[in-house]
Symmetry: C2
């Protein structure tokens, strides 16, 4: 598959890269349709926020231009962008000066079953809990062992995603998705100031909801509140929105707000 | 510098390696003296424990033989061993089958000032706290952003190390060291079942202490208990033991138990 390192075709990496040594970097998983990176502004905004919080220099206009050129060459599929703190010597201290490295990897569009968006999915109850680390919460950084452990908890196609709670038991997100509830016509998604990844589709849905007169709250979600929701759905930047139909013996209908937001997001995905 | 990938000289890595993508792997930092990897059994034991907890296959005898051959070629210095879950496609699910990748990187012996071991060091009070994640606690895995953030908190040579506490305020370790206290002639080091890295030198000191009739406890350490200690010292597999002389306005003498353990460890480092 197509891959670039620092703007040039390349499929290998220096062994001294701090992305390998420490997971010292960030990534974005970008949907590419008809040669265009979707939700580009939101991806760039999250990357900028991550770089700022990790004190990594960012050349935003260079990365944006590279992502656009890469998407043009890829055509259809997924562009994964990784930005690391570049090469380092031994030791945790950030190199001075830091020369971040840009990695772009293309892959085909994932073969999601159409039934997931149409009929909804079943969620696996992950035992792996998310640790609470406010300094890293919300970022799409390269320290993802919790997701690796959680995703390894189930095999086969019965479960499309898994539910992750934090160590205190709050409902946070899916392994590779964010989660929304609807209760009494109000949209609700977890506060991600202690853990979790603040997805670009989650941000898009929050904006779309507000722009379409839907009441929406971002706050802590207790487990019982999740189980008692009227509607539950997942989202990410690739598949859009999947209704959640079943979780650990609990069933939900595919509700009207989920369908409304799917329509809004579908329009966006095709644009 | 000398570097091998899967047993062959190589200084680059596949972009598809899950060590880069997710920090999905483990590492060991091994002191090499006169062509021999020191504390090899302890490094191999920790690696085996890590592989078991991350459900990664491990060919222990192959890695041990490679480390020995690498050390022979390196002569003097540091051998960093990284074992990743190997290449993967997009997504967190571990590849089936998993073909772990072995990376060995050599570097010169670090230029630690002799005064650190002789006179003791000053500890920086890191604001970065360690999140509590029992599933990963104790392992030397590749998700090290907390250490990167903590180490970036100070520059210059005044502080040789930084103190890391967990999100609940307990005293855990240094950024790249473990920590011991002495109180009323009893040796004490933090329980690492929620966070922290269980260092091989820490394990060695626990064994040496027990074998030399020293009372030793592994349990939670409150901040006040740390401040009220009679002696404080740091340890890791490269520098051995550094007395802690000063932290945030508190001073400690270099005590007799610290000196006794330094002598025991020094013997080991030279052997």
């Amino acid at each position: 598959m197509l891959s670039w390192v620092d703007g040039l075709p390349c499929d290998f990496l220096s062994l001294r890269d701090r992305g390998l040594a420490y997971g010292d970097g960030l990534f974005e998983t970008v949907a590419v349709r008809q040669g265009r990176p979707l939700l580009l502004d939101r991806h760039m905004a999250r990357l900028a926020e991550g770089c700022s919080r990790l004190s990594m220099p960012l050349d935003g206009s260079l990365i944006r231009a590279e992502l656009q050129a890469f998407a043009l060459e890829l055509g259809e599929g997924v562009a994964k962008l990784i930005v690391t703190r570049g090469d380092g010597l031994r030791g945790y201290a950030p190199p001075q000066p830091t020369l971040p490295r840009r990695i772009l990897q293309g892959s085909p569009w994932p073969a999601y079953p159409p039934a997931s968006a149409e009929l909804g999915v079943e969620l696996f109850p992950c035992r792996t809990r998310l640790a609470e680390q406010p300094l890293l919460a919300g970022l799409k950084h390269l320290n993802r062992l919790e997701q690796v452990l959680a995703r390894a908890e189930w095999q086969g196609g019965e479960y499309a995603e898994g539910l992750m709670r934090d160590v205190s038991g709050r409902v946070i997100e899916g392994v590779f998705s964010n989660l929304f509830l609807v209760k009494s016509s109000q949209l609700l998604t977890a506060d991600l100031s202690r853990c979790g990844v603040a997805g670009v589709m989650r941000a898009e849905i929050l904006t779309l909801a507000a722009g379409n007169g839907l009441a929406v709250k971002v706050r802590d979600i207790a487990y019982d509140e999740f189980l008692g929701a009227d509607e539950v759905f997942l989202c990410n930047s690739l598949y859009g929105i999947w209704p959640v139909r079943r979780f650990d013996g609990h069933d939900w209908p595919v509700g009207p707000l989920t369908r409304k937001l799917q329509a809004l997001v579908h329009h966006l995905q095709d644009s």
